[in-house]
Symmetry: C2
Amino acid sequence: MTSTSIIDSALQRSRRSFLKSGLAGGAALMAGSAAARAAGDPLITEIQDWNRYPGDGVDAAPYGQPSQFEAEVVRRDVPWLTADPISSINFTPLHELDGIITPNGLCFERHHGGKAVIAPADHRIIINGMVDTPLVFTMEDLKRFPRENRIYFLECAANSGMEWRGAQLNGCQFTHGMVHCVMYTGVPLRYLLAEAGVKPGGSWLLAEGADASAMTRSIPMDKALDDCLVAFKMNGEALRPEQGYPVRLVVPGWEGNMWVKWLRRLEVGDAPWAQREETSKYTDLMPDGKARRHTFLMDVKSVITSPSPQAPVTHGKGPLVITGLAWSGGGRISRVDVTIDGGRNWRTARIDGPSLPKALHRFYLEIDWDGSEMFLQSRAIDEDGYVQPTKDALRAVRGVNSIYHNNGIQTWQVRTDGMVENVEIS
Amino acid sequence: MTSTSIIDSALQRSRRSFLKSGLAGGAALMAGSAAARAAGDPLITEIQDWNRYPGDGVDAAPYGQPSQFEAEVVRRDVPWLTADPISSINFTPLHELDGIITPNGLCFERHHGGKAVIAPADHRIIINGMVDTPLVFTMEDLKRFPRENRIYFLECAANSGMEWRGAQLNGCQFTHGMVHCVMYTGVPLRYLLAEAGVKPGGSWLLAEGADASAMTRSIPMDKALDDCLVAFKMNGEALRPEQGYPVRLVVPGWEGNMWVKWLRRLEVGDAPWAQREETSKYTDLMPDGKARRHTFLMDVKSVITSPSPQAPVTHGKGPLVITGLAWSGGGRISRVDVTIDGGRNWRTARIDGPSLPKALHRFYLEIDWDGSEMFLQSRAIDEDGYVQPTKDALRAVRGVNSIYHNNGIQTWQVRTDGMVENVEIS
């Protein structure tokens, strides 16, 4: 099937490229310790119970669950952040994840009036306002339109918001965990608008949720006609209840608050509405006391997810995988740089996996850690050339009044014992 | 922000293209019924409870679960298929899914000695045989090597196996549900082999599982060096227990049985081993009584997932979305054709979403159903030009002794009342 010489040559190539990647000393160390480990390890020399006795058969509880050994990999909240859980948040455990897909059970939650529970048969989507024909769609109607499938990140505008005034919360989950990334299936919003017929002058859209907060946001018509989806699936299955089941708006690259959950009404108008959640909230209070509004786009951003405070280095010096996520509301990520010495030297990280517009990108930098203190940072650059700024550069322009749109560079201090802390350096 | 004329023109373009897609009559019908529906619908005219009263706050059970209204969307088994659940299967509910990602909780299971339960700290991966240095890796060791993220389908060789002798089981879940598609994160197998050093002549690899069946398969070295991964994550999180937690082999495009779960040993040799699961099983019994072995590749295949027996047409005539999945172990899908009249006329379906090698592809054909009986079929073509065969063409060559590698074209009969059945036509 394949000649020995081809295989050997391929292996030699593979080995050379692996060693060349900077792991030379470390890899040798690992091989040494791995070989030594074999000699007296009862896990190797003795047959284990799971190898000796049959396990449980195909699952009687047919919707599968994570392993019992992963019980700590969960969304977590910070109780003191908000007065009541019906208008609160929990966070995606980014430090435990890899790749670019977030499993549905770990996508962060943010509610403004609790989680609406709606039977699909009882749900309606209304289109009214400046349209030729006001329409009401059932979920079944919606599923008769052509669908699209797209992988997008969703980030809350307030993600990393506590960090405006300096390093506060410890842990990548709590500082950056209001982001997730799934494949959505939905109907392009422009098809529904075309069905109703937008009247001349219809330049804004109001999206309204059916939850107790009746979450309501104004969306420019050109965005609505571009890439918005009226989505009913995430990662292949129905939307989760906390993500707007049975239907939500997908507004790619823009702040998560606009992705109205439990979507029940779309009104066409000729101006934005100035609803509560786009005036007193989700505007950016500047140093002069004025508030910037319509700051919809989520700018280019990245964070190292491991090592991080909840994912310390437990194996000592030698080969270490540094990994993280990068994303931009403007499109694809073109490059991520990583520093281990607080910005004195930068190396280009390896982006691995699909590179899709307005989706998370996974990056890696493999190093041979000498065991000394590190200050880890990542800096993303998107396809339009936008470069993730430092927190200080952001503060110089925007001050520290806002809790929104903090895409500044994160620093993790890795101590010599492998423990990691959220710090700032100048 | 955008001029009215641009918007109106975009909407007109959108509308024209939507109408041109064959939905003209149907779309008008839908608009009519949707408008009529508005008038007296209490779901529109009255405020509903979920809009009036706050819902539950952020989840106290932090690993999220599907909606209560999706309780029927689960893996299902067919009890009479096997003698005991420890060596049995359940099936992915393909008829309820969309896009190309399978949620982890719905990925089909297939066990040969039940599900091994292994704490990551107690797991070891051995490399031995024709290597310079036999090695033992812990899970922590494994995570110090460079990782890759790839979306791949996994299909059991016996998927659709009951259909060799004619249409048997009803339902896309039961006929075709031994396939799923997730993003894996893992270490390229070639890195581990390079670490151990493969000796000259090492041309085959034995992969062995730590479960009670000690599942053992021979893999050619060139495949091992090409794209195999030693994977520990699926869709971002840890592998599920039934998928080999904490670690499995990923053998892209090849039959699922080779993707050894609970991977504990890799032995390098100079010939295949002829283990039980590659001799008495997972070989293809031909009409002359001989068995073909080493039929590793999963050939080009497709199936319409909706409408299908478990997903009948409930909305009557008019716009109808026909959707399905296509895949090939050889690479990307280049085209999918769909017929509604049992093969007399074929139309090219729309492939939507990422087109990735050895991954599921999602296709759609939107039609204006006239309410008459249909015989639905899909036919996939991969990037190498391989065309999915008819079942009769397969039988002419391979007979009906085998239960493996049935990639024949599936026919669904859609009756005038919208109900769907598994049939064969000649």
